[in-house]
């Protein structure tokens, strides 16, 4: 089983994702430079967080034009599992691999803190080990996490069970006061229709080791590793 962590100019969480896959989960893992044109041979692709191209113009706008993105689309079309975290999520939105767009946090401030997430669906390779309704404690760190989508898109997301995580309080209640950025319907993560592409603002790679205060992020990586193991005989 082999994981690829995409690296764009300005990717900052590439090392963190690599560390978790390689050293926590002992997965064979490569960094994949954004000029690569193929993702042949990878079983899992992580689009990590950071400030690709400085977040200039719009977050994720320039990264979506990198050569590796066509390879990523091929990988997705073949059904390969992809997770975009934070800026990675924003890139997937810009690239049209996930619906909707990201705006600045309503506070107009960068926010770095632990938040709680409620799992809304078990039906993705990244949440298959989680129960619907289970609560994760997980860090966020972003300036543009205010997810928005047209009413039609939101309806579709709901009808197709594409909302993966919502911000909630410690008790699992999805309430306005638990929303760190103004995101519509407290959405923290979504998936595509085919369910193999997940984007989320919070950082599971920052809470996958006990010394970092929470291991709730592990479930997300474990889910995909188990899903892959199930598929690969």
């Amino acid at each position: 089983m082999k994981g690829g962590v995409l690296v764009f100019p300005g990717s900052n969480c590439d090392h963190d994702c690599y560390h978790v896959l390689k050293h926590v989960f002992k997965m064979d893992t490569d960094f994949v430079w954004h000029k690569e044109t193929s993702l042949e041979g990878y079983d899992l692709v992580v689009v990590p967080g950071g400030f690709t191209y400085g977040d200039y113009l719009r977050t994720g706008a320039m990264a979506k034009l990198s050569p590796v993105m066509s390879a990523l689309k091929t990988f997705v079309n073949r059904g390969g599992p992809v997770i975009g975290i934070c800026n990675g999520f924003q890139i997937l939105l810009e690239a049209g691999l996930l619906p909707g767009a990201m705006m600045a946090n309503v506070s107009l401030k960068f926010i770095c803190d632990h938040v709680y997430l409620r799992t809304e669906t078990q039906d993705t390779p990244f949440t298959s080990n989680l129960q619907r309704g289970s609560v994760l404690k997980i860090p966020v760190a972003h300036y543009q996490g205010n997810y928005m989508a047209s009413p039609e898109t939101l309806l579709e997301l709901e009808d197709n069970d594409q909302i993966v995580f919502k911000y909630c309080d410690a008790g699992g209640n999805v309430v306005e006061s638990a929303n760190p950025n103004g995101s519509v319907k407290n959405i923290a993560g979504i998936c595509n229709r085919e369910r193999n592409v997940v984007g989320m603002m919070p950082h599971p790679e920052r809470c996958s080791e006990p010394e970092l205060g929470s291991v709730d992020g592990k479930h997300i990586f474990e889910s995909v590793i188990d899903s892959l193991a199930g598929k690969v005989p």
Binding site: L57, E94, G100, N146, M148
Partner: protein, 84 residues
């Protein structure tokens, strides 16, 4: 040749920066200001292009990069058409 591209938020899209500015203005006593919406203005300098080519190019780069059609509209104008 120089062009100016305007990228603004689609109608109906909540735009947090503009809202915050409007609120600040109100608290500074400028009650006359009822709304602010903030977009981008981009000054583009091009070389060795005809006006026709420039229009096509601008259209292309707006669609590909400068604006996000999910939330933004764009317009552009060629500011001077002297070949440079």
């Amino acid at each position: 040749m120089k062009a100016r591209v305007y990228v603004t938020m689609k109608k109906g899209v909540l735009e947090p920066q503009g809202r915050a500015v409007a609120r600040s203005l109100a608290s500074l006593g400028y009650g006359e200001v009822k709304g602010v919406r903030i977009g981008k203005v981009m000054d583009i300098e091009m070389k060795d292009v005809t006006e026709e080519r420039a229009e096509k190019l601008l259209e292309e780069i707006c669609q590909k990069l400068l604006a996000n059609p999910v939330i933004e509209d764009y317009t552009f104008e060629i500011v001077d058409d002297r070949k440079s």
